[in-house]
Amino acid sequence: MADKPQESSAPRSPRATRAAPPRGPSPEWEGRDIETAGVREDRDVEPRGGRATAAGASPGIVEQFASAVLGGALLSIGLGRRSLGGAALALAGGGLLFRSFGGQGHGPILEEPRFDTDRGPYEPEVVAGPRVLERSITIQKPASELYRAWRLAENLTKVMGHFADVTTAGPDVQHWRVQGPLGRSLEWDSHIVEEHPGEFLRWESLKGADVPNDGWVRFRPAPGDWGTVVTLRFRFDPPGGVIGDAVVKLLGAVPDTLASKALRRFKSLVETGEIPTTVPNPAARGGGHSY
């Protein structure tokens, strides 16, 4: 990994993209080499914590591990004690768990405002630009079959179910409804703007969207018998003002895992015909049902 070229010489500027939407095929579709996606990920991770160590593992992972184990232990002890001190222990443990399980700043989540990365350390509170979420997954099916599955409205509804209610609003138009901040729902229509059957699909929100956004999904052959690499990208461009701030917070809290979770759900749906769930699940809480 260490000798892979840095991409800093040729960054893509989201601002430029916004100012002049590409005509014809997207650059994302034209870049055909899967491995280039890996190089770009390297670069994307970098602003968060410097390059990975020579061994390939970020030192943060160790800390995360320790936090999780220690957090779990404290949480358990705290819960077991049923006292004020116990509650404090549980809280401390919960905090550590939250930290270790992605409460903040882990992994290649790619939601950074790209044009901000040269301004110094990453601070989630000052995010002002578009939020970009991009993840890949490998699925045991040919690209053509996956593409067809993605285009089925009922599948998209299921795959995005953890995030939004997606309904069909016309030919190639979907209506998205997300439970937003301040008890308000965020809604938009999106339409397909670029299509390369079996390979690539890009959509954009229509005028009047509560949160302007766009995204694409790309299908590329994986090596050996692994099937197909599916890459999914969302970009949200929250409005300004109080609502905008709240949306940024929402986008900070919810979609860190939006892309990876959507891909995971899609993978399970097409590989097994169902999405794993524990809803509902018998448990001695929540009236006998929990998750």
Binding site: V69, A73, Q140, G273, E274, P280, A284, H289
Partner: protein
């Protein structure tokens, strides 16, 4: 229905919870006829594994009768008597297709809890923390089994529940551990831990051609089982100066060809390293007491195989340099039960394998907390407590 629920450290209670129902199209519902304790449960009961939630139904080693069937289930039928491996596996992903079932991509609905810890999520387990999916467990009258056609194995007629129940976890885990050892005829295999998994690993090592099997433990009744039920030689580590010296002498100065750790993160031992581990773990400064594993690493012959079945967290003081300099091969996994079950059921049906002796104590579900207490403290020679939930 009634179910055994985790409510905090060392706080298990039998409570009334909702009945499970068909959720996904490949689900079945089982009326549980028998379930059993597993040593790995003790780790979260004792609070060393995170992401349990109060009220979780526990239990992952079970069998039962199919009482309801999802619409896309093809092979499993209502009324079938089946045994189910503890890992939930889809049968379709790359890992399942390559017999690496416990690494299934598609059965952990809470993958985001596990991904930061492991890098990539594994399969879900019944009743074993939310990081492993948060599925309700099987110490209950009924349990939901996803992907039934991959995960339910029909029990041949004429076999008793006690003969089959341990095929859910202890037998395939032990068998896999022996399979990892790449046993050549006449090899010597040493196994740390003479509990359910360890005893099954010993039996499996013989089935796979080992010439000698040596079991290491400190409980006389377990050591007796290893000798009488499995045919192993035994070492009581609490009564010898050095397990290493004993093993060396028993193997002509070479050391065992393969060493299997069937103990895990709450090992007992003697001496300074054990005292260090015990103190640090009690303070929750680290998750593991690794005395058995470290001993296995030192005892193994040069170029031998170390097969790890015990459940661990993130251990410090792990002697990787010893492994490296001795050129050991390390093999480990959570059980890939679906790979082994057809063969193991055949072994049981033909009388080549009878794990029923592990079931030393029987309880109703209502008495399950007492069962776990006995199992944990190894009272009255308890090796495995089995529960009869219906």
């Amino acid at each position: 229905m009634r179910a055994l629920c985790w409510n905090g450290i060392n706080d298990l209670r039998v409570e009334t919870v909702a009945d499970p129902g068909i959720v996904n199209p490949h689900d079945v519902i089982l009326r549980v006829t028998m379930s059993t304790t597993c040593g790995s449960d003790l780790h979260f009961i004792d609070g060393y594994i995170p992401t349990m939630r109060e009220g979780d139904v526990i239990g992952h080693e079970f069998m039962g009768e199919v009482v309801d069937v999802g619409r896309d289930v093809k092979k499993v039928k209502k009324g079938d008597r089946v045994v189910v491996p503890s890992f939930i596996c889809c049968g379709n992903c790359w890992y399942c297709q390559h017999d690496l079932y416990s690494l299934c991509d598609n059965t952990n609905p809470k993958a985001e809890l596990q991904e930061p810890l492991l890098g990539y999520p594994t399969a879900g387990i019944y009743g074993y923390t939310h990081a492993f999916g948060g599925y309700a467990g099987a110490h209950a009258q009924y349990v939901r089994v996803p992907h039934a056609d991959t995960d339910c194995f029909l029990v041949p007629e004429g076999l008793k529940d006690e003969q089959v129940i341990f095929l859910s976890d202890a037998v395939p885990t032990g068998y896999m551990g022996a399979d990892f050892c790449n046993i050549h005829p006449g090899d010597t295999v040493a196994v740390w831990g003479c509990g359910g998994v360890g005893l099954m690993a010993m039996k499996s090592a013989f089935l796979l051609g080992a010439g000698r099997v040596i079991g290491i433990d400190r409980f006389p009744e377990r050591l007796r089982m290893a000798r009488e039920k499995v045919g192993a030689e035994t070492i009581d580590y609490s009564r010898v100066d050095s397990v290493l010296d004993m093993l060396k002498e028993l193997t002509g100065g070479r050391g065992p060809d393969a060493c299997i750790d069937a103990v895990g993160m709450e090992a007992h031992g003697t001496g300074a390293e054990y005292a260090y581990d015990r103190a640090k773990q009690a303070l929750h400064l680290h998750s593991d007491r690794g005395e058995a594993l470290r001993q296995a690493i030192r005892a193994c012959r040069k170029g031998g195989t170390l097969s790890i079945l015990g459940v661990y967290g993130v251990m410090d003081k792990f002697p990787i340099g010893v492994i490296m300099n001795k050129g050991l091969t390390v093999r480990t996994a959570q059980q890939h039960g679906q790979k082994y079950l057809p063969l193991l059921l055949e072994h049981v049906a033909k009388g080549q394998l009878d794990p029923s002796f592990l079931a030393t104590h029987r309880f109703s579900l209502e008495d399950a907390p007492r069962g776990y207490e006995m199992f944990k403290k190894k009272q009255d020679g308890c090796v495995r407590a089995v529960f009869l939930p219906n």
